[in-house]
Amino acid sequence: MIAGAKSLATNSMSRLIPGGVHADVAPCIELRRIYRFFGTTKAVQDISFSIPQGSVFGYIGPNGAGKTTSMRILATLDLPSFGEAFIDGLSVINDPELVRHRLGYMPDSYGTYRDVNCWEYLDFYARAYGITGEERLRRLRWVLDFTGTRKIAEKPIRGLSKGMKQRLCLGRALIHDPSVLILDEPAAGLDPRARIELRQMIGELADRGKTIIISSHILTELAEMCDRVGIIEQGRLLATGTVDEIQREQAEHRELVIRLLSDTTEAANRVSQREFVNKVTIEGEILRIEFTGDMRAQADLVTELVLSGCIVAEAIAHSRSLEDVFLQVTEGLVQ
């Protein structure tokens, strides 16, 4: 369950206990009233949300909205000015070394080394996470197979394509088998095939029970990958939930497309008399109704048409894409 900012803000402080770790460890990732200031710039303001285990959370926002800042706080790389953040019930501020064992982080830059080949790179990170002996070799084999980098294992990293580098970096984030993955713009600069393959890998990881928080500008892909999304702008979290939930919460202007087997003109006249209907368009046997209201208003329109004797063959509420929702929720403001 993804709770909204306001509801979390009210009850979060009451659950704090000494030492900075909270008692309730149900959500896998939890941010509580996070603020981050850089001088006078408010990069993140009062952000609270939680993500249950095994779900994929898409983090959407324009450039400079505060996505990377809040992801870096979760990744124990930055400290909030105020607020708390937890991963598996462990504070990212007070116990970063414990959180890091459960965390795989992939920043928007590749973070690779010169004069190192692919398996050496992965081997180094396995060692850095304290994985030793046979277990390290086993993890290396798994990661090379999972990310499809076995064929290039002995190639120097500098000669790899962007897609292959991205696979390698995903492998690095997975080498210690973390339960949480933080992926910052993983699909940036990839060609369509590489993006599809990355999406498949993320889907597979989610199926394996990993909790994933992912930011991207390619909203159509996020819509397919994510269970939930959070929309952030100017450091404030504007909405969280599934795309439909956000649409329902945010969208007042709806469109209903009805296919009638009876007289469309009469039906159009009837529904246009309702106060909340803005526009009715007739396209052959299709009636396109634009109105302001919630699901109840939509149900009322259909009921009215049926009760008035219109033969309704099909009623479709126009489904808004994530892009539509994003454009509606955000105002295109930058800090």
Binding site: L79, P96, E97, P107, G133
Partner: protein, 555 residues
């Protein structure tokens, strides 16, 4: 049977990943042992060595070293023909070899270590390392270890040439050992110092200035070590066995402890703000101080002249160290994060005696000033013994004047550090302040305190010399000078001492609050997680730098 490149590569990878069954059983056993040994090595050292040995910089430097040493062997030998057969010619050959070896060991390797850490910060890979299990100290140690390994390779490469030079007579084995030891100690110390500067500059503009500072230090070190080494090669070791022993022991002690301070300070720059950055540095400073006092005391056995020089230079070094460290500690953040509060000593006695290691500006001020007093008292005692040596001669300054001047100096330092605290507190209202700003604040403040009253006095006296007055009491340079000459007015002395004493004892009283219980109990969830990760029994904690067993209780 022909094997394609791909097949060979696959077979190689299979062998690396432990998938190949083709190797004999005994070889696989050896492989397992080798893997186990490799697991015990710092991962950064493994990575850096892999990188370094494949890097163009290493290949070029190593090739140039081999070429230079070979060329000098041939050219030097030919130039010294035919005298080489009957005149001791080792010194001339050794100077050439030293110059060939000193460039990579004292310049290239430290600079490469500096660039390596700076590159990690620039490329964002340090952040990726930060989210692994590696501690900042391991990261820094790995870099230094890799530099040491490269030095060893250069050293080994040139060893046959040194052996050849030895056969030409003119340099004894102890001199050779001192020469090589000097090169290693200076090389490693300069590497540690160079690495210390790497995290300081994060912006491009400051990176250039930092690089220039590092280059200046390295070139200065290269020049100083070169002067000593060439003098040593040409004149031989002029010291007695006891003096040589003192030199070796004191050099190792001094370089080892100062390297430890720099190592801790470098690691502290990589540690997040929420963690304790200060305690390890304070402990290493204490070790350094103990080593310095020990060396000064040991120097008494070497006669008046050597001891006098040693005592004065070491005292000056430590006074500068405590002033700089005090300014930086006074600029530490005053608030203790829950993370730090969990690590505080659990008992009243623990808090009472170990309070000086607790991070914070108040404890930092008292720690620096107390240690400076301890140093000065110890050095005063050693100096007193020095004057009783049979070969002691009059040094020209009255010891009582020195003592009273020292008291004034400490008082000025206390006042200055309180000023640093106030300035940093004001800056901290709107900015994130790094501890280095404390040093800059102290320098500016001391400059202004001396220059402003002096300039006003000059102006009021029509730019002619004028006598000291109480208005010049903030002019610490003039006041200390008057004190050394025993001409300082009584009131000025007491004003400075009263203000300094108020600053110091005021802090000491305020520290009482810190001695009160304020430690947070480590949550049970955290203890369980630590136990799970480290396979340790409950109560054992890595998060316990003072070994006080603070992680034992849980909520």
């Amino acid at each position: 049977m022909s094997v394609t490149v791909d097949e060979a590569r696959d077979a190689n990878l299979a062998a690396i990943l432990g998938e190949s069954e083709a190797a004999p059983k005994w070889l696989r056993m050896v492989d397992k042992v080798a893997i186990r040994c490799g697991d015990a090595i710092n991962p950064i050292l493994v990575k850096e060595t892999r990188q370094a040995l494949k890097s163009r910089q290493f290949v070029v430097t190593f090739s140039l070293l081999l070429f230079a040493s070979l060329a000098w062997t041939i050219a030097g030998s030919l130039l010294m023909m035919p005298q080489i057969y009957f005149v001791p010619s080792a010194p001339n050959m050794l100077i050439g070899y030293y110059l060939a070896l000193a460039v990579p060991m004292l310049l290239v390797v430290p600079l490469a270590a500096y660039r390596s850490l700076e590159g990690e910060i620039d490329d964002g890979t340090l952040e990726l390392l930060s989210v692994t299990s590696l501690s900042p100290r391991q990261i820094v140690l790995g870099k230094i270890g890799s530099a040491a390994l490269q030095m060893m390779l250069y050293f080994v490469a040139l060893f046959p040439c040194v052996a050849y030079a030895y056969t030409l007579r003119g340099v004894d084995l102890p001199t050779l050992a001192i020469l090589m030891g000097l090169l290693v100690v200076v090389g490693l110390t300069m590497t540690v110092v160079a690495v210390f500067f790497a995290p300081m500059a994060r912006a491009r503009s400051s990176q250039v200035s930092t690089l220039l500072v590092v280059m200046a230090i390295l070139l200065g070190g290269e020049f100083a070590a070169g002067s000593i080494a060439i003098n040593l090669i040409q004149s031989g070791n002029p010291l007695s066995a006891l003096q040589t022993g003192f030199l070796v022991v004191s050099t190792v002690l001094f370089a080892g402890t100062i390297a430890m301070v720099f190592l801790m300070a470098t690691a502290a720059q990589l540690i997040p703000e929420s963690e304790n950055r200060s305690t390890a540095i304070r402990v290493s400073l204490l070790f350094h101080q103990a080593a310095v006092i020990g060396i000064a005391a040991f120097s008494l056995t070497l006669g008046f002249d050597i001891a006098l020089g040693t005592i004065w230079s070491l005292t000056a070094h430590m006074v500068f160290t405590w002033v700089a460290a005090g300014a930086m500690m006074a600029a530490e953040a005053p608030t203790m994060t829950p993370r730090i509060r969990r690590e505080l000593p659990g008992t009243f006695l623990g808090r009472l005696f170990l309070i000086w290691f607790t991070p914070g500006p108040a404890t930092g001020l008292v720690f620096a000033v107390t240690n400076l007093i301890v140093l000065l008292v110890a050095m005063d005692g050693i100096y007193g013994r020095l004057l009783q040596l049979p070969d002691a001669s009059y040094v020209g300054i009255n010891p009582n004047s020195i003592r009273s001047t020292i008291v004034l100096f400490v008082a000025y330092l206390c006042i200055g550090l309180v000023g640093v605290r106030l300035i940093i507190a004001a800056l901290r209202l709107r900015n994130t302040v790094r501890v280095g700003v404390g040093m800059a604040a102290l320098a500016v403040m001391l400059l202004l305190l001396a220059l402003v009253p002096y300039s006003i006095g000059m102006h009021l006296n029509d730019y002619r010399s004028y006598p000291y007055s109480l208005w010049q009491v903030t002019n610490w340079v003039w006041t200390l000078d008057m004190s050394i000459d025993d001409t300082l007015p009584f009131e000025a002395r007491w004003i400075v001492m009263a203000l300094g004493g108020f600053a110091f004892f005021g802090h000491l009283l305020l520290l009482g609050r810190t001695v009160l219980p304020q430690r947070l109990i480590t949550p049970k969830r955290v203890l369980e997680e630590r136990r799970r990760l480290q396979k340790l029994p409950l109560g054992t904690s890595s998060n316990d730098p003072l070994g006080l067993g603070t992680g034992g209780k849980a909520v």
